[in-house]
């Protein structure tokens, strides 16, 4: 029902993913109806405020969800193969080798008790069966590549001896060491100061260009996302509310939340202007009602927004057949610009089947 612009199967295909949190008081959906695709070599951004489920999404891809959370519905396909919902062994074969991940805070993401060398070589020795020596040489060459000074000496040092920017480079080098096809970068620059941020982003770009690694970039910072990504998914309260190419989202954001996010981005043009931030906060798990999850903060909210869930509406798209798309497909369709909003549905977007 969906036509993809490329012939090959997508690298990563998330379909109708639902993740639940089990607590003493019941089970709560953390993610709901997530559809997302990443093509080989593509950079996809996921953006949203903290607490909207971006990190849970990225963790669920590698089976790294906390014990209380589990995938209850939907599926994740990697190169047309289906990933398990849980089970450490099955994920282990993909982690690091196929899909690598870098995290927000490089200082706490590296083991304080092990040397850099130990942490940089264990993966290649395990997955690529390199000898200790080969692994070290490999690590050194990667360290050079990511622009780390005196790479040999670094191997013997401990994380606390390095600065945050250097550590993030180390993290990236480690992540790249098995030449993964997909790199998940979860807020890779948030913990770093601004100049370093730019350097790291530059590095990611280089990697994308040189190695053709697909990147799933998770960030709350739309500026970072805009700079990097081919396509962007905006998440709010456990759902993808709008997806499209960078241009589509920046030029014609359809979801009020996306619009709000854009207004909050500091740009040179808006310097000295007061930044508009979205009033209110993301609703907690138990505060999510039946209607649109953004209604409490939305300037355009109507009674319908409160009462019933908005449909997913495709507003444009390369594959653009009219009426195309079920809920499960519309947002995932590569190249499609889709939005989950009553407003867009009324404005004559392509209505969702359920709408």
């Amino acid at each position: 029902m969906l036509s993809a612009p490329t012939e090959a199967p997508p690298l990563l295909d998330i379909r109708d993913l639902r993740v639940e949190l089990t607590t003493a008081r019941g089970r709560w959906p953390v993610l709901e109806g997530i559809d997302l695709r990443v093509e080989p070599g593509e950079t996809v951004g996921i953006v949203g405020e903290s607490g909207c489920g971006k990190s849970v999404l990225s963790l669920s891809l590698l089976g790294l969800l906390p014990p209380a959370m589990r995938i209850s519905e939907g599926e994740i396909r990697y190169e047309a193969g289906r990933l398990p919902r849980e089970g450490e062994e099955a994920f282990r074969r993909i982690r690091g080798r196929e899909i690598a991940m870098i995290f927000q805070d490089p200082m706490s993401s590296l083991n304080p008790a092990l040397t850099i060398g130990e942490q940089a070589t264990e993966m290649t020795r395990l997955h690529l069966k390199l000898t200790k020596r080969e692994a070290r040489e490999h690590a050194v060459s990667l360290f050079r590549k990511v622009g780390l000074p005196r790479p040999e000496a670094l191997l013997k040092e401990y994380p606390h001896q390095l600065s945050g920017g250097m550590l993030q480079r180390v993290m990236i080098a480690i992540a790249l060491s098995c030449a993964p096809k997909l790199l998940i970068a979860d807020e890779p620059t948030t913990a770093l100061d601004v100049t370093i941020q730019a350097q790291i982003l530059e590095l990611l770009k280089t990697i994308r260009e040189e190695d053709g690694t697909a990147i799933l970039l998770v960030s709350h910072d739309l500026g970072v996302i805009a700079d990097m990504c081919d396509r962007i998914a905006v998440m709010y309260a456990g759902q993808v509310v709008e997806v499209g190419t960078a241009e589509e989202l920046f030029d014609s954001p359809r979801h009020p939340y996306t619009q709000g996010l854009l207004q909050a981005v500091p740009t040179p043009a808006k310097k000295r202007e007061k930044l508009l931030s979205i009033p209110g906060t993301v609703p907690a798990l138990h505060e999510r009602g039946a209607g649109c999850r953004f209604h409490s903060r939305c300037a355009y909210a109507t009674e319908r927004c409160l009462l019933s869930a908005p449909p997913v509406v495709r507003v444009s798209g390369a594959g653009g057949g009219a009426g195309a798309g079920t809920g499960a497909g519309a947002l995932a369709a590569t190249g499609a610009h889709a939005v989950r909003c009553w407003l867009a549905a009324e404005e004559g977007g392509l209505p969702h089947a359920a709408g």
Partner: protein, 315 residues
């Protein structure tokens, strides 16, 4: 700041040792009991006793004896044992290896058993295995080590005859036999320590499991065992080492009692005999030594904790 702290602690500890010795010295001389009598038994004549007292120097005024002893001790001369007429230092030196190897063996057993158990409990938190381990450690904490010692002797020494029950063999003589002669007491000694370490390790492991580097390690596709034993354990052990270090004193003290059960010729039995004999120099020497060791170990562990922490732990 760190140096000042260390120095202040050190002075305190010296004062502690001095105080302990002061109390030991005078208290033991005030309570009834005469070393000369204890040596000679009931058949001695008053003349023989007087003569021995003069020889031992126990007939001098207390203050004089104390100054004399302190003066010697400052130069590491702890005098001669009244009972054995050998230098106290030699007697202690001959017994120290026994107690020390016992304590070290117990420590080794503790670590070897407690670490896998603690990790298993942390990995299976809330599951049956965790509950069983936690129940067993509670019991382990409650069993008096001398009782488990008695039971071990009965079962392995007398009924099964697997282990030697009285004959201590020094390491230098035969390492294997030595190990055998120390194994049962070391096991008895280590049971409560194992319980303590398992519980502590479980807690620190659980704390560590929440940390991000664990997620990183998992995201690398490492085997769970690698994640636990290499990544987590190394971090969890830092506080555990501290606990073990702090408990070294308890192990040492516990070995004093266990030596009695297994009649090992260690410091504990030397001390109890010395107390019975009113062998003042020996008692003082032993108390000084044990107090110094324990306090010194605590001091080092204390410092290392303060010193290691900011370096190794992030934040």
């Amino acid at each position: 700041m760190n140096l000042a702290y260390a120095a202040r602690r050190f002075v305190t500890l010296l004062l502690t040792v001095f105080f302990v010795i002061l109390v030991t010295f005078f208290a033991f001389r005030i309570i009834p009991g005469n070393p000369a009598l204890a040596i000679l038994g009931t058949e001695a004549t008053p003349e023989q006793i007087q003569e021995l007292e003069a020889k031992l120097g126990t007939d001098l005024p207390l203050g004089e004896q104390f100054l004399h002893w302190i003066g010697g001790a400052a130069a590491f001369d702890f005098g001669d044992s009244l009972r054995y007429s050998e230098p106290v230092l030699d007697l202690i030196g001959a017994r120290l290896p026994v107690t020390f190897s016992l304590a070290l063996l117990a420590l080794a057993i503790t670590v070897l058993v407690a670490v896998p158990l603690g990790i298993a409990a942390a990995r299976r938190r809330g599951k049956a295995l965790d509950l069983i381990i936690s129940a067993v450690t509670q019991i382990g904490l409650a069993i008096p080590s001398f009782w488990s010692g008695i039971v071990l002797v009965l079962v392995f020494g007398v009924m099964l005859k697997w282990f030697s029950v009285s004959h201590y063999v020094p390491w230098s003589e035969n390492a294997w036999l030595s190990l055998r002669s120390l194994l049962l007491p070391a096991v008895a000694l280590s049971i409560p320590q194992i319980a303590i370490v398992v519980r502590y390790l479980r807690t620190t492991m659980l704390e560590q499991l929440h940390l991000e580097y664990v997620r990183t390690a998992r995201s690398k596709g490492l085997r769970p065992s690698t994640v636990y034993y290499k990544h987590v354990l190394k971090n969890a052990l830092i506080p555990v080492v501290t606990v073990v270090g702090m408990n070294f004193g308890e192990i040492l003290a516990g070995s004093l009692v266990i030596e009695q059960v297994f009649t090992l010729p260690g410091l504990g039995r030397l001390l109890i005999t010395a107390i019975g004999n009113r062998d003042y120099p020996l008692v003082q020497g032993l108390v000084l030594l044990v107090a110094s060791i324990v306090i010194f170990v605590n001091f080092v562990v204390d410092l290392s904790y303060a010193w290691l922490n900011p370096k190794i732990r992030l934040r």
